[in-house]
């Protein structure tokens, strides 16, 4: 017979052991192993630098396909991506961009928008974080962050125009668009405030980062386009900033144009602001894939096969070799169907293009086994400046390809060349334009001819608006300035290859549809579906 005491003790033991386990284990806090939270970050100097780096990270998209660079370039008369049979149709978005029939649901616009606002967001966040910290190291970075943010807003006011102005990271209200003038004013005031606080040295510590000269370059381009952005021209201010950079900045024109774009171009004296890509550490510069032919993989021994996309519009290419447009020493160039060399101007800037017959490293011709029946020379791979049509069966070998940045033998799909954002030649030509518009054509002519001399071509006897426009085109090919120039010179609505005349409202890109859908305070730009205007 069991005693009460032994029953009780048995129950107690069992009960206690059960409850012991129960109440010790209701802890549901999450423990992180491979990530960090804000609590355990921002403790050391290296962490600050790493955090600052995030502000530049947003620039990494500038060298690949389907973002800001793509919409600027395909909508211009420089570059085009034709539909090659089953390749590159992609729902018609590329043709739409080229022909100025783009609509808000084109995915590239949303990519560009999120790319730019991602950058703005990061700058706002870091400015706020560093202001909270209040240490001198933190303050030193704030000027730099405001400059990066000004660059983003300069690109925003240039592409979408009427965008939300978001500067306060703690403000969680959903923003509405503001008018273009307001964004312009903001960029101007920001740059005015911080330009003197930025470093002026050009060395390893400032390479790839915002300096006073880079900020001046932004302001110069802002003033140059002021009439387009606000209706009020600011040629004098543009000229002043450009002169400041040319006279006081540590820059010179490189003797060889292509040195600015070489694989190891960090030594260039002409580049003012770059994004330092690297095929291992900072990938994303995909131009060899974007523009070269599938068989070019053998020509350069690439580890990946190119996609055969971007090609140059023939009229634009001809502006280099046609002696009537570009006087200079005559010699062998590739033109038209490129079966045999033609005679044309030997502009040093023809290094901008990969054109004509392509050869493998062992000297044999590269071949395109998938060529069309109507390809000018069949299997041998020849990039022909002449192209047949944009749709439906563009020649696979059609169009001069982008060769601006040097391609590496044995390279990967990412280049190590640093991407040039601002360059001295652009500032020189901007000064020329500002002076030309201000009435001083002879001074402008001298500057333009300096640039032409570096390119190895003859000086112009006199300067006209069209000549200035064309020279900018030749010098700044694929550097994301052509669309701006077309708009400023009033030529954006003109017809060109496979494009008819287009309406004025296309000068502003449409606010992307996903942004309109997720933010009911955003209104569409004039002329686009859903704008109400």
């Amino acid at each position: 017979m069991k005693t009460k005491k032994s029953i009780f003790s048995r129950v107690l033991i069992v009960g206690l052991s059960l409850t012991f386990f129960t109440f010790s284990c209701t802890d549901l806090d999450e423990e992180l192993y491979s990530d960090v939270t804000a609590d355990n970050f921002f403790n050391t100097d290296e962490e600050f630098i790493a955090a600052l780096g995030a502000a530049y990270e947003g620039l990494r998209g500038i060298g690949n396909h389907s973002n800001l660079w793509s919409i600027n370039e395909i909508a211009s008369d420089e570059l085009v991506i034709t539909t090659k049979g089953g390749d590159w149709y992609d729902g018609g978005v590329l043709i739409q961009l080229h022909q100025h029939e783009y609509t808000p649901d084109n995915g590239f616009f949303n990519n560009a928008w999120t790319q730019m606002y991602g950058g703005v967001n990061t700058c706002n966040r870091l400015i706020y974080t560093f202001e909270q910290l209040g240490t001198p190291e933190a303050d030193a970075f704030i000027a730099e962050l405001r400059a990066i943010r000004a660059l983003w807003y300069y690109w925003l006011v240039d592409s979408f125009g009427r965008v939300p102005l978001v500067t306060d990271f703690t403000d969680a209200t959903v923003p509405a668009n503001v008018e273009r003038q307001q964004i312009y004013d903001f960029v101007e005031s920001e740059l005015n405030a911080i330009i003197e606080a930025l470093p002026t040295a050009k060395d390893a510590s400032t390479y790839g980062r915002m300096t006073k000269w880079a900020a001046l370059a932004i302001r110069c381009k802002l003033y140059l386009n002021a009439e387009v952005y606000t209706g009020t021209a600011q040629w004098q201010k543009a000229a002043d900033d450009a002169r400041n950079i040319i006279d006081n900045g540590p820059f010179n024109l490189e003797l060889t144009y292509s040195d600015n774009f070489a694989i190891t171009n960090q030594g260039s004296n002409e580049n003012i602001l770059v994004y330092p890509y690297d095929k291992v550490f900072a990938t994303g510069f995909n131009w060899p894939m974007m523009t070269l032919h599938y068989a070019s993989q053998g020509v350069y021994n690439f580890t990946a096969q190119p996609w055969n996309g971007y090609a140059t519009v023939e009229e634009f290419y001809n502006s280099y070799i046609d002696p009537a447009q570009n006087p200079g020493p005559q010699g062998d160039v590739w033109a038209g169907l490129a079966q045999t060399p033609s005679v044309g101007t030997q502009d040093a800037r023809l290094t901008n293009f990969i054109v004509g017959p392509q050869f493998n490293p062992d000297g044999t011709r590269a071949t395109d086994p998938g060529h069309e029946a109507n390809d000018p020379d069949g299997p041998p791979l020849t990039f022909t400046p002449q192209n047949n049509e944009i749709y439906p069966n563009g020649w696979r070998q059609g169009g001069a390809r982008i060769g601006k940045y040097e391609y590496e033998q044995g390279g990967t799909d990412n280049m190590s060349n640093d991407f040039v954002i601002f360059r001295l030649a652009d500032i020189i030509l901007s000064l020329a334009e500002a002076e030309f518009r201000g009435g001083d054509a002879p001074a402008a002519l001298i500057l333009v001819n300096n640039v032409r001399a570096r390119a190895g071509v003859d000086p112009f006897p006199a300067l006209t608006e069209d000549l200035l426009f064309a020279e900018r085109g030749r010098e700044m090919f694929a550097e994301m300035t052509r669309r701006q120039d077309l708009i400023r010179f009033g030529k954006y609505g003109d017809a060109w290859w496979e494009k008819g005349p287009s309406d004025d409202h296309y000068k502003l890109f449409p606010i992307p549809q996903p942004q309109i859908d997720s933010n009911n305070k955003l209104t569409q730009n004039d002329g686009y579906a859903g704008s109400g205007g």
Binding site: G53, G86, T114, N121
Partner: protein, 995 residues
């Protein structure tokens, strides 16, 4: 004193004599056990001498023979029959006719944390017993149930031996979080099916509605599958061996042109040969299974040990696996039979060759005139640089045989599961009270290695070779305690359950990938030799994450006089994955039933039970840490001459993140009629899921990151399920049993995709799932729209063909032109099924047995990707690839644009498996069972679908899935991708032996 001693010695003598007479009065009893219903002999009946451990089992004829002591009583017991005791007395022959159990509803069903008699169940629970499992070569436990349970759809498109099955219970009621049911193996919640060999499974119970699954709380939202493994039986030792060999071949693939047909097409690129590419990369597959199990025990100790070996050479060359699984189940009573300790240990070791599925994709679309080998450097198919395999310089094509022979893709899997349960019966202190404690630990380890030779065009690092090596370790342990109390109150029975559960998961892993090897000899076994690591081009990674689940649960079951049943349960559960403000949730359920046949006499009906239930279950997210604001490396930053990391936010915080909630109402009828020969179940369910866990795009200012995981949206499902079994003929020499189950999926609707200002998709609509390349990247195939049925396929409607060969599309918005935008596209199909059935017939004739199982699904469409890309005469299709040549091929079409003509009605009826066996009559001796059988799987499929497999696709895995266990995009059903393996047919020959 002496008288006492005399008395004592007399007693002792008598005692001794009695014992002697007892000891030496052992006799042999024999006889035959038959069924009282029809007089047939019953094999396998346990015959036990009561009070001892002396027993035997009847042979195939029903005969037995046992040596017993004097005054013995024999106990005859067998499942489905009433246990009978017979005193031997002086007889030497004892024949017994066993009565079958009056109602089939006394069988026991496993429910959460316990068992319940079937007649008392008030929720929708389906049981599948071993005799009902699918037959043939079945390597994955889930496949045993395919088509057997109403409302449960198990699919594995194609026949990839290393591929997983998709399981959907009662349609799709979630898409962000876990869509698959919770698996519980012998009480281990979330146990891995890799630890269970199909031969070791005794029964599977599926908790279909919320009231049954609510006791599992935040993981029960998609249903619960309870697996019970075989355990030992007291009595004599039983040894079983099952072995089989099988041959597997291709059953169906898509029709493409032969070399002669291709040469006729204008623009064809004739490369000079005739090659059957699919033949080159496939072979007749072979499989072998050996299973040996030993079990037995005493009334206080039972055990079962089994060894299972499975090996398969897949139909695809360079694919297959080798696997050994060992399991021990041991149960021991102690402490005066009050305590029971149950110990389970299972370990699996698998060596798999996965191959690369791309080989089959390229084999199907390869130009049939292309030679296999080419050792030149200049011809259009020059392959001297590629190891002599012909290769072409076109977009997206690699020699399939080169992929098979020049690459390696291996995986070794180790699984380990151990569990211990201790139960104690407190009935001596408090009548009806038992307590239990349970602990289990599971560890899964994957070790993967992949390699491509320098000469391999796919993945070979462009002449440098490339290798990858990685491992992942998934660990979890579970601790549970429960208290159970049974009490009779008058005519009512009360059962109370209360418990606590704690489960902790930890996953970690690391890996590396790099190339540039001097030699191919190392494959992936010398990663140090990859020069990429020295050049900074190699990739190295490691990771870890964990999560915790804690719960308190309780249940009360009331049984009034065996006529009225009520069940109430609740689980209060917290998961570490939810946001700070919402870590805990409560999941209640209530159900009730009444056995009408006990109250009202209904002619021809033996039993009829009505039941209704309502319950709320939940679903937790599939990733940890998503409610937190996290920073991670977002790139590199060039600072002072070197590249360092740059850090930024990689998620937005959401402290309100909580579980998905599913409320379900179910009403059903269970009945049996015609002397219990016809039994059936009918269920109607309606379920409503709210607060689905999905990532929504948020405006880039002011949020930090472009996406936040939130609770948003609502889905509704309704359906009707039927299941009937009928023992049609039950004669001495011939039996026929038939069973059918079918499900009507009445509706599966997206009620809402918005919550306040947030919306998944823009304006209540999402378009997703691009067609892919070449050339159709931006074309979206699926629309998910608020207020519409789930599973819509989206695209333009083809009206005809234009003169230039482009398809002519309908102008749907009537504005005069076709705009190639959403205004001129519409719903062109729906990937979700409306109706599915499974139909089983079992026959026995003498010693022969035949089982045939048909199943089918109706009402779903499939988008045939192969046709959408390659069934046309477009310049690139003809010049680069082969042309798909189904009955729909139209040579006038010269542009590849996916449209309504590529969406096909994919109804099908399939003979899933059939088996024919012969059991040799055994007349005593060591062997008591010897059966040979022949089984065929996927014998034929009746369908109009021209693609590879008309099976439903619940989730889209894209064109080249790198991870076969990737669940895919649950929002995009209905697309047959180019990565679909062909379907296979398997013939198995096997033997079952019992000792």
């Amino acid at each position: 004193m002496s008288r006492f001693y005399l008395y004592l010695s007399r007693c002792t003598t008598v005692l001794l004599m009695m014992t002697a007479s007892v000891a030496w009065s052992q006799s042999t009893v024999s006889g035959r056990v038959t069924s009282a219903d029809d007089g047939s002999g019953l094999p396998g009946v346990n015959v036990l001498e009561k009070g001892t451990q002396n027993g035997t089992v009847t042979n195939a004829d029903g005969s037995y023979s046992l040596t017993v002591g004097g005054d013995a009583t024999l106990v005859f017991s067998f499942v489905g029959f009433l246990t009978t005791e017979v005193a031997v007395g002086a007889q030497s022959t004892v024949d017994v006719a066993l009565q079958s159990d009056v109602t089939a509803l006394t069988e026991v069903v496993v429910v959460g944390y316990g068992t319940q008699e079937k007649k008392e169940i008030t929720s929708a629970v389906s049981s599948v017993k071993e005799t009902d499992f699918n037959r043939g070569t079945v390597n994955d436990p889930v496949q045993l149930l395919q088509g057997k349970v109403a409302g449960l759809n198990i699919t594995r498109p194609g026949g990839d031996p290393n591929g997983g099955f998709a399981i959907r219970l009662r349609g799709v009621s979630t898409f962000g979080a876990n869509t698959e049911p919770l698996i519980v193996i012998d009480g281990v919640i979330g146990g891995s099916l890799d630890t269970v060999d199909p031969n070791d499974i005794a029964s599977v119970d599926i908790l279909k509605d919320a009231s049954a699954a609510a006791i599992y709380g935040s993981r029960g939202g998609s249903g619960v599958v309870l697996i019970t493994t075989k355990s030992g039986k007291a009595g004599r030792v039983s040894v079983e061996y099952n072995g089989s060999v099988a041959a597997e071949s291709i059953a169906n693939t898509i029709d493409v042109m032969s070399a002669e047909e291709y040469r006729q097409v204008p623009g064809a690129r004739d490369l000079g040969s005739s090659t059957d590419w699919l033949d080159q990369v496939t072979r007749t597959g072979r499989a072998m299974v050996h299973n040996l199990s030993v079990g037995g025990g005493t009334p206080t100790t039972t055990y079962r040990v089994s060894f299972n070996y499975r090996g398969e050479e897949g139909v695809g060359k360079a694919s297959g696996f080798d696997q050994l699984n060992a399991r021990l189940n041991l149960s021991q009573k102690a402490l005066n039979d009050r305590a029971t300790f149950t110990f389970g240990l299972s370990t699996t070791s698998k060596d798999a060759e996965l191959g690369f599925d791309e080989a089959f994709n390229y084999a199907i679309i390869a130009n049939p005139t292309m030679p296999i080998y080419d050792n030149t450097t200049t011809s259009p198919t020059a392959g001297a640089n590629y190891g002599g395999y012909a290769e072409r310089d076109i977009f997206d094509f690699y020699n399939p045989l080169s992929i098979v022979e020049q690459t390696v893709n291996d995986k070794k899997e180790t699984r380990f599961l151990v569990s211990l349960r201790a139960e104690y019966d407190f009935s001596d202190i408090v009548e009806g009270l038992t307590a239990s404690a349970f602990y289990s630990q599971q560890r899964e380890n994957d070790l993967a290695g992949a390699f491509a030779r320098k000469t391999s065009k796919l993945g070979g690092g462009n002449g440098l070779g490339r290798a990858a090596r990685g491992t992942e370790d998934r660990f979890n342990h579970l601790f549970e305690t429960t208290l159970n109390y049974n009490k009779g109150i008058g005519t009512a029975d009360l059962n109370l359950l209360g418990g606590y559960s704690y489960q902790y998961f930890f996953t970690e892993g690391f890996g590396m990938e790099g190339g540039n090897f001097l030699t191919d000899a190392f494959t992936y076994n010398n990663m140090e030799a990859a020069l990429d690591f020295q050049n900074g081009l190699g990739e190295v990674y490691s990771f870890a994450h964990s999560n915790t689940l804690v719960a308190f649960f309780g249940r009360a079951n009331l049984n009034f006089a065996g006529n009225y049943f009520v069940s109430l349960s609740a689980r209060y559960e917290g998961s570490s994955r939810f946001g700070e403000n919402n870590k805990w949730g409560i999941f209640p359920a209530v159900s009730a039933g009444v056995t009408l046949s006990n109250l009202v006499s209904i002619p021809a009906v033996n039993s009829l039970k009505l039941r209704a239930s309502y319950g709320i279950t939940g679903n937790q997210p599939s990733d940890s840490y998503i409610s937190l604001q996290r920073f991670g490396q977002t790139g590199s930053f060039f600072f002072n001459g070197i590249y360092g990391p740059s850090y930024g936010p990689i998620s937005n915080p959401n402290p309100d993140l909580s579980w998905e909630t599913k409320a379900e109402f179910d009403v059903g009828v269970d009945f049996s009629m015609l002397d219990n020969r016809l039994t059936g179940t009918i269920d109607y369910y309606t379920r409503n899921t709210k607060d689905l866990l999905v990532g929504v795009n948020v405006p880039v200012p002011p949020n930090l990151f472009r996406e936040t995981i939130v609770n948003i949206g609502e889905i509704e499902n309704q359906g009707l399920e039927f299941a009937f079994t009928y023992a049609a003929i039950n004669k001495a020499n011939f039996t026929w049993e038939t069973g059918i189950n079918w499900t009507n999926y009445l509706s599966n609707k997206i009620v809402s995709l918005t919550s306040g200002e947030l919306s998944f998709g823009e304006g209540g609509v999402i378009y997703r799932s691009g067609m892919g390349s070449p050339g159709q990247n931006d074309t979206e195939l699926v629309r998910v729209k608020e207020g519409d049925e789930f599973g819509q396929l989206w695209g333009p409607v083809k009206e005809g063909v234009n003169d230039d060969g482009t398809p002519k599309f309908a102008d749907l918005n009537g504005d005069g032109t076709f705009c190639d935008c959403d205004d001129d596209r519409t719903v062109i199909g729906n990937g979700m099924p409306k109706f599915q059935f499974g139909f089983n017939n079992s026959f026995t004739l003498g010693n022969w047995d035949l089982n045939v199982f048909l199943r089918g699904t109706f009402g779903h469409d499939l988008l045939n990707s192969y046709r959408g890309f390659y069934e046309n005469n477009e310049v690139t299709t003809v010049g680069n690839y082969n042309i798909v040549n189904t009955e729909y091929y139209d040579p006038a079409i010269t542009k590849a644009v996916v449209n309504s003509s590529h969406v096909e009605d994919a109804w099908f009826i399939r003979l899933d498996n059939a088996s024919l066996g012969y059991s040799f009559p055994m007349t005593g001796g060591a062997v008591n069972k010897f059966r040979l059988y022949f089984a065929a799987q996927n014998l034929f499929t009746i369908t109009d679908y021209t693609g590879i497999d008309p099976e439903v696709r619940y989730a889209d895995r894209g064109d080249s899935p790198t991870n076969p266990n990737d669940p895919g995009d649950g929002l995009s059903p209905g697309i047959e991708r180019r990565s679909t393996y062909f379907t296979t047919r398997i013939f198995t020959f096997g033997v079952n032996l019992g000792f």
